[in-house]
Amino acid sequence: MIVKVLAAVWLCFALAAAASELETCATAVNRGEFASAARLAHGYVRLHPASVPARILLARAYMGLDNGTGALAELREAIRREPGNLEALYYISKLAGVLSQMEFASVAETAPDSARTHQIQAEALQAHGDASGAEKEYLAALERRPETVAVMNALGDLMRLQKDYESALGWFAKALQRDPENYDALYGTGACYRIARSQREALPMFRRALKADPSSMAAKMATGESLLMTGDPQHALPLLEEAAKADPNLRRLQFLLGRAYRDLGRTEEARKAFKRVRVLTELEESDPVATEDQ
């Protein structure tokens, strides 16, 4: 009995000491005292290798010490031990974003007028909504490396987003000439056909895109939609169901799913899917960020 009580007391002390060590470490990170934080967190991780919070603190300390690779290694281990840890995912997303920018900056430094540098600049301009600037840079990239399929696809996507479907189709066709089973070019062509021509013409392109990348949720949804709209709900349904399983919060997908169930006479499932559409619509209407994202 006494041994049990002592063990419990010891466990309480050990847990309190561990929590206090981590708190000290967190305070050091917040204060910007990264070297001492790294020392503390490293010692803690050595004693408690399964501690995910300690690994995240160690990663943050490494970030402060400009050791991005070390930080990423700790975060990778954290996510391996706890795949759904939001804190770890948050820092992975942030850190990998910064590391990516550093690599791109190094490309611009070592090869300032290269195709890759122009491509990077084009992508940055596109992300900031400067379509004409992005087009110029993509063309400059293509001038330096005329066979780059990725740049042709990027130009196709750029035109497609501006609703210039004929120009977009021209770029995707050039990409497909060089790489006939290129996923991006096939999907882009299908997406243009769907709007500028018909679902019937889009369907074979989406099917080829899905064959090129069987894991693509976008291709599954697009193929499912084209099948549904061309009167084949039977074959559309499994694709739409698979896509909806991966992302249950996509309103359009739920709507398509509802239509497929309805066309197949599965009224109860159709009712559930349409109810989900209403819930998602209400959520989006109460959320300015989500509404604009749609």
């Binding site: 305070t27 917040n30 204060r31 910007g32 690779t69 990423l72 990778r76 759904g84 939001l86 804190e87 995912l89 948050y90 992975i92 997303s93 942030k94 850190l95 990998a96 974003g97 590391l99 990516s100 920018q101 550093m102 690599e103 791109f104 190094s106 490309v107 070592t110 090869a111 290269s114 890759r116 540098t117 990077i120 992300a127 900031h128 909504g129 894991s215 992302d247 919060n249 959320d287 300015p288 960020v289 604009e292």
Partner: protein, 199 residues
Amino acid sequence: MIGLLLVSIALGFAPTAPATLQAAIAAEKAGQTQSAVKQLREILRASPAPEIAGQARLELVRIHQRRGEWWESAEQLRELRKLAPQDSEYAYQLGVAYQNLSKWAFERMRAIAPESGRTQQMLGEQYSIGGAADKAIAAYGKAIAADPQLAGSHLALSVLYLRAGKRDEAKSEIDKELGIAPESAVAKQVRQAIVGGTP
């Protein structure tokens, strides 16, 4: 090629690194990706000559990129960068791998807990980087509503307001941040920038 390799092993000859590399490439072409990855990793474990190591790593990068395995892809590209520090193509590919890793982590956050404070914070950061200040402010607002004690949201709002020349709002936000994280060196610096010499 795989047949030849198996025969050589059966006869007691250890396959050379170039032969294993060719066998791995053939396996990959034949759709035996797991076997290819295994052979390529075996080559690398044996510390081969730099050109063989480089080729093996490049093959691994191709496989991992195709399968969307960004951790593994980045791992190989980092080694390739060490082998050829001046090769800007490796730097570009590593940048792309990191970019995809970042997207992957964010998508996981959105799938696991779309309304959580951290996910909304991340969304706010994305909007902020893209120059969409209004959307960023809305996302940070949602982050605060979801988790009022999570550090970082008031700090980010303060910086956004400061950039927009709204000093009073910036000060109010940074004071809230310091209420949550009194030790934050960054928050103290931002407050200093807002109020100047005034404590």
